[in-house]
Symmetry: D2
Subunit: 361 residues, 4 copies
């Protein structure tokens, strides 16, 4: 069950970075949603390598094929199979990895778990796996936009290393995010982030950072009490992305330094409906959306692949030094922005359908 996500809008991804290809099967998509390969390609292009000078220069075009589930431009209600062939795979670039474990990668844990691993490119732990998620989420977004006209997800780079952007989550626009190659809508911070990443690349080093995401236009009532809380499912979704180390929502970790009198979100009537005056809750109370903006942050560690010799051990337990070659991201953040959006869309689409099922009115 490792490779499936969602209870009703259910995505199953497959594929290694250096096998034949990667893909996803989307089961449970409502029928008669207009869908073309172009709808999906837009987000894949935001995720793909080689899109700018600060990401990996691998030359994958990541063209998406729809193999099933569409008829005359509309979804059939049956599984939608999506696929991208692997093109620029260079297994020889990974030859050192065949017999040594890269620090802070999944080489060792895969070997320990399975007794075997596809050492060519990281196999299933490669960020290439997220192609299937981003493609599936493009469909989820179409469902959500059809049913919820004001629905909108905007994710952006909030910080890189110690450079923090100043962004108002309630105002930030998608177009402002896409204006910079680092996907940070604060132009000054963006410029400094880009400089830092270029420096890191030159030094064979890497950096991480924080992505913030805001979801607008979600009606009250999505999410379930107890285990499948909307924020719990978002947390799982985000921590399932490669390189993530943390998630917080609304006031988050910083909110632990406030008192209850400061932190409570007072209710009031506004725009003819129940609203909160502040939004420390981050749009979710008791695991259920309250109609305010949902916003959260995701921590990404510095990329594990660095172009410097590192100590490690071989698969047979001998100390060795490993110098990885190849084309890697000195910072995963700009390409991770569409991944964060994608996982948010998958969670929300699933809970939207769940609420339809249980709500009889």
């Amino acid at each position: 069950m490792s490779s499936s996500f969602g209870a009703l809008f259910r995505v199953t991804t497959w594929g290694e970075s250096h096998g034949g290809g990667v893909g996803a099967v989307v089961d449970g998509c409502p029928a008669r949603i207009p869908l073309t390969a172009e709808d999906i390609q837009v987000d894949l292009d935001r995720r793909r390598p080689g899109q700018s000078e600060i990401v990996t220069q691998r030359a994958e075009e990541d063209k998406c094929q729809i193999l099933s589930g569409i008829f005359e431009g509309l979804t059939l209600g049956t599984p939608i199979s999506l696929m991208v062939w692997n093109k620029d795979a260079r297994p020889e670039a990974y030859r050192e990895v065949e017999t040594a474990f890269r620090p802070s990668h999944a080489d060792y844990t895969y070997q320990a778990k399975y007794g075997i691993r596809n050492w060519q490119g990281g196999g299933r732990s490669s960020a290439r796996e997220t192609i299937g998620r981003v493609a599936a989420a493009a469909i989820a977004k179409k469902v959500l936009r059809k049913c919820l006209p004001e629905f909108e997800i905007v994710a952006y780079v909030k910080s890189v290393h110690r450079i923090e952007a100043s962004v108002d989550p309630s105002e930030v626009k998608f177009t402002a995010v896409e204006e910079s190659i680092i996907r940070c809508p604060d132009p000054d911070a963006a410029a400094r982030m880009i400089d830092l990443i270029k420096t890191m690349r030159k030094e064979g080093n890497s950096v991480g950072g924080v992505i913030e995401c805001v979801v607008r236009g979600v009606p009250p009532g999505l999410g379930e009490p107890v285990f499948d809380k909307l924020d719990a499912d978002l947390a799982k979704a985000m921590l399932s992305l490669p390189a993530t180390k943390g998630f917080d929502i609304g006031s988050g970790f910083a909110g632990t330094q406030l008192t209850g009198a400061e932190h409570n979100d007072v209710f009031e009537m506004r725009d003819g409906r129940v609203r909160t005056r502040t939004n420390f809750s981050g749009g979710i109370q008791g695991g259920i959306s309250n109609g305010e903006n949902i916003f959260f942050r995701v921590a990404f560690k510095p990329t594990a692949t660095i172009l410097r010799p590192q100590e490690t051990v071989t698969t047979s337990g001998e100390p060795t030094e490993l110098a990885v070659r190849g084309r890697h991201d000195p910072c995963v953040l700009p390409r991770a922005v569409p991944m964060v959006e994608a996982m948010a869309a998958l969670v929300l689409c699933d809970h939207f359908l769940r609420q339809r099922a249980q709500s009889l009115t």
Copy 2:
């Protein structure tokens, strides 16, 4: 599906804080594990109200009954039904809440989702729901300890408001945690935390904080690639607890301020097996345990119930002022420690069984 957790070791909780009782059904527990009600009561007593002067003074004894699944002191392999009757329910104390939404509680979102809510005591969003989790997790711990002799979970209060404890997660002992009523193993910080909570109670205010948890004795190989990563399932588990706002693991959010060269965990041979020299990964790499200590943090917001008049709206949309009475926790942290342990145990037991299923060797 909201009320079930786990794929193989599966817990379903039920019950409102002011209905007949609360309980859980544990399905998938291996057979022939010795189990008595006392095994469960130990953890319930750490969770229950009235255990010290800094928690709510409700007089619930929370005595656990085992209704099925045990025969002559051993588990049968069939569902174990656990139940605690509600005793000290005082619905009249909640009468104000019948027609007004408490700020930063789930009153409004439940009403929006279901068109109905049990306003007596918060219903299903009450922390009382976690009784079923803690009881079920006591069983999970027995399974894990039987199969993994060095298995151990220690959670403790890391910070309250701005008071932060100094604790070494690799050394901290369960007994040191239990020595203070705040469950913080740093005696100096503990004393200051207790003082602060007493002050908050007097002022009708509340505080939150951070709980840190370390899990030792987990073998390499638990957790699944992609969606059901061990850290992703821990994140969901923690965010499913009431009042939580964040989760981070290993280096977490702080790790985003390091470079890759600083952050990577170098492999070495130690004690005859592959180890990492540092543990920024927090014991999980690529979603799979690597045999090091797993440690993570959970942010808890300040308790939403404060004993001060607050602005809000009524269920019919009129502005009103609400003054909640009753017996509440000015800080949920000391009682949340066993809840964090419980959710960690449920995640690990489930993944332990999953790994048994898939691993043929």
Copy 3:
């Protein structure tokens, strides 16, 4: 997962025949459905021992308690916990079974699977487990009747041993079924069935038979292509009942003796909608309801408990002779009728909610 059923309307049963009690948790029930313990008791009374002279004379009153999920007479949308205490348990009546395997019971297979079994009354394999199903299904029926005004399930005894009733599934009424203690609406066949069962009881022998069930008022579109076909889920539901050996739907096994030209159900317009002229399909085509009556049959083997000495082996592998005492059903059919209805209701309620989720119109 063994003890849960349903994807959205999800029932988890628990309990042994001779433990503290038996029960069920219903998760996913829509909110604001009127529900009382009496709604549930009606069906439990049709299932309980001692209801007539041809069933077991155990004196269980099977009074149902609702422990959660209801507030002021309405469902809350949260888990509904249902429970019946065991009263007339006489473990000493099972003492012989402690060390010997009853032929065609689950004693041996439970021992082989778990290495332990509750030998007092058959434990989890007892028909007593179905109390939880029947109770949960009473709720499912309320949901279905609220949403589908013409919805109706009628099950009845079609045959006992070689006595076959003549019944028209499209006309048979619930009241006609309940008129006889054997629950066969053909009075002549019913009388002969009752005589046969009385004879069997005197002889310490037992008989089986076939239950037929018709479901009316199901709209077109319920059920899913491929694995979760409506008929596939009905088949699983029926074969999950104790003592069942077969399931067929519509023309069933007999239909294999027709040609396609005879068997095809021609479409025509009738009552302003698409109808089939014949109904060999049994109301389901391609796994999806077509709006016609759904009808199917379930084979029940002769009761395994017979009051005659039988050869068997002991738990340590020695040949022995076993003479079971106690109060048993010489024929399970009359009490199985509400169980068949119950499983049909659970399947249909689940698929009704699933269709609501996926259908956007």
Copy 4:
């Protein structure tokens, strides 16, 4: 969830008969199982059109590609993506079906459920969907044979229309089945079945029949009490196949005409282990395998596609006459034999892994 099957060995199929292709993703397969495309092709060839003169003459070669999950000839433990391109699709042959509902097909129910359907070749309800199941099951068989050396599944045609074969399920060999194009191991019955099918084809008519399946070498203890009984999951698996109308196991429907004294399977010691003298139970007691042969029967209706004019209605509700052209099976039985085996293998592999997970010894 409609398109996924299995809790731990989980198969998700996708594809329409006339889209780009059909395929399956297998998640949860243990690592290090040797697997090649040829292992899969063997069973696909037994399922494919054009294999003999009595099946449809469509010219699909059904060549299977493995797109992921294999490395150097071994499974990786990660999802295995399998695919077959559609070749001989002739959508124009289905033009009549665009606006009229074929009797006893799924045209009407898909339209009612989804408001859209792929009318070219039946879309998702086509038997072509079973390619994914047969391919996935070839992997399941490899897992089972590796772990259970005596494991073996043999399915065969038991009857066609009124011609019934005489076969001893405990003795029948796979090679004897494959000797005739009808896959019936009774040569005399086989010859008559083939004659009948040829006659039916000439007459534009069709026939159905019964497939019997025996599974040998299953250890005691597989299957779960209550809902996921081994026979319940087999029933669902079989009724999920196209054109099926019934399932019975062991003594089945015929067993309802025996008394308990005749029907009970007496236990005895044989070959050093607990055995039953007779096998009316069909190898499963209380939902759990008892180590005897598992055998069951599946009813298949006469093929719905007949080459004769039939009354029906159009999609807009007008009466019409429909004469289907094209290349169809006058009897699905010979090609359904590998499908029945496939579904049996999927159920057993899943329960085998489930038992590994829960059994600690």
